[in-house]
C-alpha cells in the first residue's frame, strides 16, 4: 500500500501575536490518497489557509505547530531539518495561492521563475528553459515564447495563474496545494483555470489539496470534501454525497445560503445566525452550538467526536437531524416594478479617459421598485457607469441623466439636496465605505441630519427605526466599524444609503466581499427593504446567481457597451448574446463550457465593428469586424448580428 500523499494527524496550529497565542487549528486530521483531490471548505477565518501552509511547513513567522504531525508522502515534515525540507519542496510539494500577481516575483521573467524550479533540481540552464517552455504549452498557453520573455505584470490574471500552476507542476509533485486558486478571477477565467486543473490532475497524477470557500467550485473539482469550522473538521465525505446530503447542520446551512438558481420571489435565503467564535474562545462543547438550531445541553458541554457514517464522517450529536432543515422556503411577497414613468433614465452616457473609452453610449431606464442587474467582467465598465449615474464621475458631454423626469447635473457637487437624497449607493467594500473613525451612530446619523431634514428629536427616532430596519441591534450604535463583522458593516452601509428615503440605490457588488452566509442575509435585507421602501436598485455583480436572485432585468456589459438587456428570465433562458452565453456557461454547475478566445482587448484600443468580435465563438464573418450591431429598443434587446434563432438558449 502506498502512503497517503498528505496526512495530517491531530494537527494543532496557532499564531503568536503581541505576546498572546491563539490556536487556529484544533486537532485536525485528514488524509489525501495519491491522485485524490481533497477539498477543504469553510468560511473565512475557519483556518483553511493555515491548514494549507502547515501542510508545507510554510507558516508565517509568528505561526507555530502546537501538536500533531504532517506527513507528506509518508515523511513527517515537522521533523525535517532545513536541508530535508528544502529537498522535499524541490521534489514533492507545491502550492498555488490566491493572488497570482503576488505569487510571482515582479522583477524576474517568467522563464527565469519557472526555469529555476528545474535548475534547483540540477538541470542546466538552457535545458531548464526549454522544459519551462514545454511546461507552458501544457498549460494551454498559446504563445509560450512570448510569455516566457514576459514579466508577470505584463500578463493577465488568468495567464499569471497558469504560470504559477506551471511552476507548481514543474517538479511533478506528489502533492499540490491549491489555496483559493481562482478567487478574484473573473467567472470566465475562473472556469478556464478550473478546467485546466481538472485536466492536469489526470495528466500529472498529482494529489491535490483544494481549498476554497466556494461550495460549487469544491463540488465540481473534488473527490472528497472536508468542512472546516473554527479550526475543526466538522464533516468529511465524498463530494457528491456531502453536498447533496450534508449531515452537519453547519454544512447544511452553508449550502442553503446560496441562491442556486432561485429568484427573490421564490423565497428568502437561509442564513446562519451568530458569528464564528474568536480563536481564543474557550467555550466547552460543540463549537457550532451557539449558532445551531438543534443545540442542546449535551452540545454545549460535550465535544462531538468525528464519527464515521457510511462514506462520510461528521462531528455532531444530531447528525441525523441536519437533513430536515433542507426544505424549500416559502415564497414571499416582493415588490414588483411599477410600470410607467422611469424613476431613473440615462441617455447616451459615455466616459472617456484619454485613449481609454471606459463606457460608450449607454442608455438605460429604471422603473420604480425595479432591480436592474448589471453584469460583466472586470474592466467592462460597470463601475464607471454606476459612478456616472451617481455623479462621482462626470459623463462625457452629451450624456443625460434624469431622475423622475428631471435633468440632474453630471457632478455630485452640482446636484441638489433632493438629487442626493434620491440617488444613493451601497459600496462593495464596507471597510472602505465606512469612515473608520466614526461611530455607527454618527455614520447613520450624519446622512439623516443632512438628507432627511428632520428636527433633532425625530431624527433620533428615525435613526432607531432605520437601524431596526437593517436588523442592527442598538448596542452597535456607539461602536466603530472595526468592531463590527463584515456583514454588520454592510448593514450600516445600507442603513446609511436608506437614510434619505432614496428612490434609487446603486448596489456595487455589495456582497462579493462577504461569506455566503452573510451574503444571504444581506440579499434578504435588500429584498425586504425594497418591498417596504419601494426603492429601485441598480445591482452590479459578477455573480450571476446573485444577480438572478435579485434582479428584475439584467444588462450585460462588455467593454463599455451594453451587449444585451432584458428581463432576467429572458436573459437566462435565451436566446443569448454569445457573450452572455459564455458567461452563463462559466457558472458552476452549468453544462458544457463555452471557450472565449484570448483576452478582453484593452479599452484603449477597441476592436472595430462589434467589440466582442475578437473573442466571439459565433462570429459570422466580415460584418462582425466592420459593422457594430445595433441594440434594438425592445424589451429583450441583443446587440448581435446573429439571427435570434441561431442564438444559444439555456
Amino acid at each position: 500500500m502506498t502512503a497517503p500523499a498528505l496526512e495530517l494527524r491531530d494537527l494543532s496550529v496557532g499564531y503568536r501575536a503581541r505576546g498572546a497565542e491563539a490556536l487556529v487549528l484544533h486537532g485536525l486530521s485528514l488524509s489525501i490518497a495519491p491522485g485524490e483531490v481533497y477539498g477543504l471548505v469553510g468560511e473565512s477565518g475557519c483556518g483553511k489557509s493555515t491548514a494549507a501552509f502547515a501542510a508545507l511547513r510554510a507558516l508565517p513567522r509568528n505561526g507555530f505547530i502546537r501538536g500533531g504531525q504532517v506527513l507528506v508522502d509518508g515523511q513527517d515534515i515537522t521533523a525535517l531539518d532545513p536541508a530535508g525540507l528544502r529537498q522535499l519542496r524541490q521534489t514533492k510539494v507545491s502550492m498555488v495561492y490566491q493572488d497570482p500577481g503576488r505569487a510571482l516575483n515582479p522583477s524576474l521573467t517568467v522563464a527565469r521563475q519557472i526555469g529555476e524550479v528545474y535548475e534547483v533540481a540540477g538541470v542546466g540552464r538552457s535545458e531548464a528553459f526549454s522544459r519551462a517552455q514545454a511546461m507552458l504549452l501544457k498549460m494551454r498557453i498559446a504563445g509560450p515564447a512570448r510569455v516566457m520573455r514576459a514579466y508577470p505584470h505584463q500578463l493577465s490574471g488568468g495567464m499569471q495563474q497558469r504560470v504559477v500552476i506551471a511552476m507548481a507542476l514543474a517538479k511533478n509533485p506528489a502533492l499540490l496545494v491549491l489555496d483559493e486558486p481562482t478567487t478574484g478571477l473573473d467567472a470566465t477565467v475562473e472556469a478556464e483555470v478550473l478546467d485546466l486543473v481538472q485536466v492536469l490532475r489526470h495528466e500529472f497524477a498529482t494529489s491535490i489539496l483544494f481549498i476554497s470557500h466556494n461550495l460549487a467550485v469544491i463540488g465540481r473539482m473534488c473527490d472528497r470534501v472536508g468542512v472546516l469550522y473554527a479550526g475543526r473538521l466538522v464533516e468529511e465525505g465524498a463530494a457528491a454525497d456531502l453536498l447533496s446530503r450534508p449531515l452537519h447542520p453547519y454544512t447544511a446551512r452553508l449550502i442553503q445560503c446560496l441562491p442556486s438558481g432561485k429568484r427573490k420571489a421564490d423565497g428568502r435565503l437561509e442564513t446562519i445566525p451568530g458569528f464564528l467564535p474568536a480563536p481564543d474562545d474557550m467555550t466547552p462543547g460543540c463549537v457550532f452550538a451557539p449558532r445551531c438550531e438543534f443545540a442542546d445541553d449535551r452540545c454545549r458541554t460535550i465535544v462531538p467526536p468525528l464519527e464515521t457514517q457510511p462514506g462520510h464522517q461528521v462531528a455532531c450529536h444530531h447528525a441525523d437531524r441536519a437533513q430536515c432543515t433542507i426544505a424549500p422556503a416559502p415564497p414571499r411577497l416582493v415588490s414588483a416594478p411599477i410600470a410607467g414613468a422611469p424613476v431613473l433614465r440615462a441617455v447616451g452616457l459615455s466616459k472617456t479617459y484619454g485613449d481609454v473609452r471606459a463606457v460608450r453610449d449607454v442608455s438605460l431606464a429604471l422603473l420604480p421598485g425595479e432591480t436592474l442587474g448589471l453584469v460583466g467582467e472586470s474592466g467592462s465598465g460597470k463601475t464607471t457607469l454606476a459612478r456616472m449615474l451617481l455623479g462621482l464621475e462626470a459623463p462625457d458631454p452629451g450624456g443625460v441623466i434624469e431622475l423622475d423626469g428631471r435633468f440632474v447635473a453630471g457632478r455630485a457637487k452640482s446636484r441638489t439636496r433632493a438629487d442626493h437624497k434620491a440617488l444613493q449607493i451601497v459600496f462593495q467594500n464596507p471597510d472602505s465605505a465606512l469612515n473608520r473613525s466614526h461611530t455607527v451612530r454618527r455614520l447613520i446619523g450624519r446622512p439623516l441630519a443632512r438628507m432627511a431634514g428632520l428636527p433633532r428629536r425625530q431624527r433620533a427616532a428615525r435613526l432607531l427605526e432605520l437601524v431596526g430596519a437593517v436588523r442592527l441591534a442598538e448596542r452597535y450604535l456607539p461602536m466603530r466599524p472595526r468592531q463590527l463583522s463584515g456583514g454588520l458593516k454592510q448593514r450600516v452601509a445600507i442603513a446609511r444609503a436608506f437614510a434619505g428615503d432614496p428612490k434609487v440605490v446603486i448596489c456595487d457588488e455589495p456582497t462579493s466581499a462577504l461569506d455566503v452566509s452573510v451574503q444571504a442575509a444581506i440579499l434578504n435585507l435588500l429584498t425586504d427593504l425594497q418591498a417596504s421602501a419601494r426603492v429601485s436598485y441598480v445591482f452590479i455583480s459578477h455573480d450571476l446567481g446573485v444577480v438572478r436572485y435579485l434582479s428584475d432585468r439584467i444588462a450585460v456589459i462588455y467593454l463599455g457597451r451594453i451587449m444585451e438587456i432584458g428581463p432576467v428570465q429572458a436573459v437566462f433562458d435565451g436566446p443569448h448574446h454569445p457573450y452572455t452565453e459564455a458567461l452563463l456557461s462559466a457558472m458552476p454547475g452549468a453544462g458544457a463550457r463555452i471557450q472565449l478566445h484570448g483576452e478582453m482587448p484593452s479599452p484603449a484600443a477597441l476592436p472595430s465593428g462589434c467589440v466582442f468580435q475578437t473573442r466571439c465563438p459565433r462570429k459570422i464573418g466580415a460584418i462582425c469586424e466592420t459593422t457594430e450591431p445595433e441594440l434594438a429598443d425592445e424589451a429583450h434587446a441583443i446587440r448581435c448580428h446573429l439571427p435570434r434563432a441561431e442564438m444559444g438558449r439555456a
Binding site: 513567522r61 521534489t91 505569487a103 516575483n105 534547483v120 514579466y151
Partner: protein
C-alpha cells in the same frame, strides 16, 4: 523605449523648470539679506560714497529684474558670471567647492551604503531577534544625533586621544590622494552615522516586506537555497525603495554639510553658499544653490531611472 525616452525628457523638462523657479526664488530671496555687496566688501565703516562707487562698478545698483535677466542670460550660455566679492569668475570657486563636497560625499557614501544596507538586510533576516533590535535601535539613535555631537566625540576619540586621524580635513593643493582620503575619513564619519540608521531602516523595512511577500514564499516553496532566495528574489525587490531614499539624501550630502564643513574647516559647497549669502555675492549664491539643486534633481532622476531599470513594472510604464 521611446516611451521611456519621452518620460525622461519630460522629467528633465520639469527639473529644468524647477531649477529656473529656484533661481528666481534665490534671486528675489537674496534681496532680504541684510546689507549690500559694496558694504560687504568694504566693511561697515566704509564711506557711503565708496560703497556706492563699488556697487556701481559691479552693477549691483541696477534694478533687480535687469540684473536677473543679465545673469540668467549668461548662465544659460554656460557663464556662471563674476563673483562680486572675489572679482573673479564664479566657476572655479563653485567647481573647487563642489569637488570637495563630492569627495566628502563619496567617501561617506562608499562607507555608509554597503554598511547600512548590509546591516538592514541582516536585521531583516533576524527580524524580532536581538540582532535586529540592536541594529534598529542603534541605527535609529545614531540617525538623530546631530553631526556636531558625533563629530566632537570622534574628534576627541580619534583626533585628540588616540591621534589616529587628522582633525582638519583641509586639503592643500598637491596632497596625494591617500592623505586626502585619510583626512576625509573623520568628516565622513558623522555623515555615516547620520545616514546609517536611516538607510538601514529603509533597507530593513523593504527586506522585511519582501521576505513576507508571496513571491518569496513561492521561492522558498520551490526549495531554493536561502542564499538564492535572498539574493535573487528578496533583495532585488527589497532595495528598490532604498535607492530612492539614498538619492534623496544627495542634496543633504552635497549641500547640507555646513556643520561638518565648519567643524572640520572643509571648503565645501555648503559653506560656500553661506559665505556668498553673507557677502551678498549674488552670482556666487545663485551658482552654488543651483549646482546643489541640479545635483539633487539629477540624483533623483538617476535614482528613478535606476529603479525603473531594475523594476520591469516601471520600465514598461
Amino acid at each position: 523605449m521611446p516611451h521611456l525616452a519621452r518620460q525622461i525628457g519630460q522629467r528633465l523638462g520639469l527639473s529644468l523648470l524647477t531649477l529656473l523657479l529656484l533661481s528666481i526664488v534665490v534671486f528675489a530671496g537674496a534681496q532680504v539679506l541684510p546689507g549690500n555687496v559694496g558694504r560687504a566688501i568694504l566693511g561697515p565703516l566704509a564711506d557711503p560714497a565708496a560703497v556706492a562707487a563699488i556697487n556701481h562698478e559691479l552693477g549691483a545698483d541696477q534694478p533687480l529684474v535687469l540684473r536677473y535677466l543679465g545673469w540668467i542670460g549668461k548662465f544659460l550660455l554656460g557663464d556662471m558670471g563674476q563673483s562680486y566679492v572675489f572679482r573673479s569668475p564664479v566657476a572655479p570657486f563653485v567647481g573647487a567647492a563642489l569637488l570637495n563636497s563630492l569627495k566628502l560625499a563619496a567617501v561617506a557614501f562608499v562607507i555608509v551604503v554597503p554598511l547600512s544596507i548590509g546591516a538592514g538586510v541582516y536585521a531583516a533576516t533576524r527580524v524580532g531577534r536581538w540582532q535586529d533590535r540592536t541594529i534598529s535601535i542603534a541605527g535609529l539613535s545614531l540617525t538623530v544625533v546631530p553631526e556636531f555631537v558625533s563629530a566632537i566625540a570622534l574628534i576627541l576619540l580619534f583626533g585628540v586621544w588616540l591621534r589616529w586621524l587628522p582633525i582638519s580635513a583641509a586639503i592643500r593643493p598637491g596632497t596625494d590622494w591617500l592623505e586626502q582620503l585619510r583626512r576625509l575619513i573623520m568628516p565622513a564619519l558623522p555623515l555615516v552615522i547620520v545616514l546609517f540608521g536611516y538607510i538601514a531602516r529603509m533597507a530593513r523595512a523593504g527586506t522585511v516586506a519582501a521576505l513576507e511577500a508571496d513571491y518569496t514564499r513561492t521561492a522558498v516553496l520551490k526549495g531554493l537555497p536561502q542564499r538564492t532566495v535572498i539574493f535573487r528574489h528578496v533583495l532585488r525587490n527589497a532595495l528598490l525603495p532604498t535607492i530612492t531614499v539614498v538619492a534623496s539624501q544627495i542634496g543633504y550630502m552635497i549641500g547640507g554639510l555646513v556643520v561638518v564643513e565648519t567643524l572640520f574647516r572643509y571648503q565645501g559647497i555648503g559653506s560656500l553658499i553661506l559665505m556668498a549669502a553673507r557677502g551678498k555675492d549674488l552670482p556666487m549664491l545663485e551658482a552654488g544653490i543651483l549646482v546643489v539643486g541640479a545635483l539633487f534633481v539629477l540624483a533623483t532622476l538617476a535614482a528613478d531611472m535606476l529603479q525603473a531599470g531594475l523594476d520591469p513594472r516601471q520600465r514598461a510604464r
